[in-house]
Structures are given as C-alpha cells and as structure tokens.
C-alpha cells in the first residue's frame, strides 16, 4: 500500500480550540506560534496563535496526516491561503457560546468552500454543553448557503472527538473521490 501525505487545516475564530484540537491528537510535539494576547476584548485568554499550529497523526498503512491550524483573528486572514494550499480538507471549529457563531460559520464556510469544496469541509461546534443552542441554526446556515456539510458537536479537548472529526472528513473525501471515479468510468 502506497504511503501518502495528507494535509488538513483546522480553522475558526480566536478561542474556538484549534491549537487544543491539534495538541489533542498529534503524535509529535506540536509546533506552536503562540504569543501574549493583547486583544482581551475579542477573547479573554493569555496567549494567541499568530502564524500556525502544526501536528501529525499517522494513519493505518503508514500514511501521514499533517495538521495545520490557522490563526483566529481577522488580521491574520492572509495566512489562510498559505496554509490551505494543497489541503485535502478543512475543519471549521466554532465556539457555540458566542452569539455570532452562526455568522462566523457563514464567513469561514463561504471562504473555504471555494478552496476545498463542500465535500471536504466539516463544521464542529464546541462548548454545546455550556448553554449554547442546538445545532439547528448551523444546519440552517449550511442549507441557506446551498451546501450539504456535516455539522457536529465536539469537545476538541478530547482526543476521541477530534479523531471523530478526522474520520468524518476522510469518509466524505473518500466518498467524493469514489463518486468522481464512478462518473469517469460512466
């Protein structure tokens, strides 16, 4: 079986858990670019990622999954195309407690669907157990965008939850590739 390298991007707003998600599953010591956070109005945490996160997961058969995390603040949006280049898929992480979570989803999905396509996108809403509303609003948002994208609840601190996101993404990618191959044969 041929060993392959896959690139996957975690994106989402500041504080959504991109760094945490990559740390939860990475089998190498992650590369982080965290510095002191001066923007407490946007997110009240001590540090913030200003370039990227990086981690790796080995897949069955020896293939390697390279995980990249984007910075969350709008001023670092220039990093998105740099990090997304060659990515097989994108996982959008959202903080379900935030009032603007659905609008934020629309912003990220509208951008990344153009980069990787809807079959290569997964939405994960975090902190659903802390008073957030149901996933219905996020599913409505996807429908309004005319997209069929899985929206799931996930605690990115939990390795199993992050692995679940990777599985969902890869199963969609494989199905899309299968469908494309079938179409070519026909």
């Amino acid at each position: 079986m041929q060993k392959r390298e896959y690139k996957l991007v975690f994106t989402g707003p500041m504080g959504a858990g991109k760094t945490t998600a990559i740390r939860a599953v990475s089998e190498i010591e992650t590369v982080a670019t965290e510095v002191a956070n001066n923007d407490r109005e946007q997110c009240d945490k001590d540090t913030t990622t200003v370039a990227m996160d990086y981690g790796e997961v080995m897949l069955e058969g020896g293939s390697r999954l390279r995980l990249y995390g984007t910075p969350g603040q709008a001023r670092f949006q220039y990093m998105w195309p740099i990090l997304a280049k060659g990515a097989v898929g994108v996982i959008v992480l959202l903080d379900g407690r935030r009032d603007d979570a659905v609008a934020t989803m629309r912003h990220y999905v509208s951008h990344f669907v153009e980069v990787v396509g809807e079959d290569h996108l997964v939405i994960a809403v975090g902190r659903m157990d802390e008073g957030a509303s149901s996933l219905a609003a996020y599913n409505r948002c996807a429908a309004e965008l005319g997209l069929s994208i899985p929206v799931v609840s996930a605690d990115v601190r939990a390795r199993d939850d992050v692995l679940m996101l990777l599985e969902i993404l890869f199963s969609r990618v494989e199905m899309a590739q299968l469908a494309a191959a079938t179409e070519e044969e026909v």
């Binding site: 590369v31 982080a32 670019t33 965290e34 510095v35 002191a36 956070n37 001066n38 923007d39 407490r40 109005e41 913030t48 200003v50 370039a51 990227m52 910075p71 603040q73 001023r75 670092f76 220039y78 990093m79």
Partner: protein, 133 residues
Amino acid sequence: MDGNVGRVERAMLKQYLNELLATEHGLDGAMFCTSDGFDLASTLPGGVSPETFAAMVSSQFALGDALCREVGHKLCRDLVVDAATGKVLILEIPQTGRGLVLAGVASTRATLGQVLYACRRVAAMVGSRVGGM
C-alpha cells in the same frame, strides 16, 4: 489591544522611529508592534497597510521562534528577509518579555550590516527604556 503601551510610550517609540529613519537612509520605513501584531508606532512606505504589516511581522517572528526552537537554537533574535528589491528586518526588543518587535523595510541601497546594527542599537535602547512595562 495595545500591549499595555500608553500614549507617552507610543510617543517615545515614534521618536525613536523618526531618529532611526532620519539617520539610516537605507531604510524606507519602520514599525514598532506588539508580538501579537498590533501597530504601536510606524512610518511605512506608501501603500503599505500598518495593520497588515504588523500582523505579518508578528507571524514571521513567531515562525522564526518556532524554527529556532526546532533546531535547538532557543529563541529568534532577528530575521532578515532578502527580496529582489530590498529587505525586511525583524528584531526582538530585549527586556520586554518578547512583547515588542521592531521591523524595518530596507531598500536595495541599504548596507545590510549597517542597517542591522542601527536597528539593533535602537531596539536595545527601547528595551532599556520600556523593559518591564
């Protein structure tokens, strides 16, 4: 959002910037910014957005740190980005807990060693003035 840098400190940073640009003719612009990418004082070439430049400087410096850590060289002190029509220099401001960064935009007429020396000198002076703020 400003790295706890007040109006007086910003004015002082601007003064250092003006003096640096007045004496180093190879520099087309320079900026002091926070390590998370907020502009504190800047004079940049026309058309360069201070907000975007500050964000990019912070990303580059953080990547420099990550790169140096990866090869066991501890933390990055300076970065020199050499381009076809000039250079960009990024330097830590010592004694600020890696909270502040100085970036310079140098033209092809700049002598790298001279500009780097001048920027390091200013960075050291600023570090001794605002360190521990």
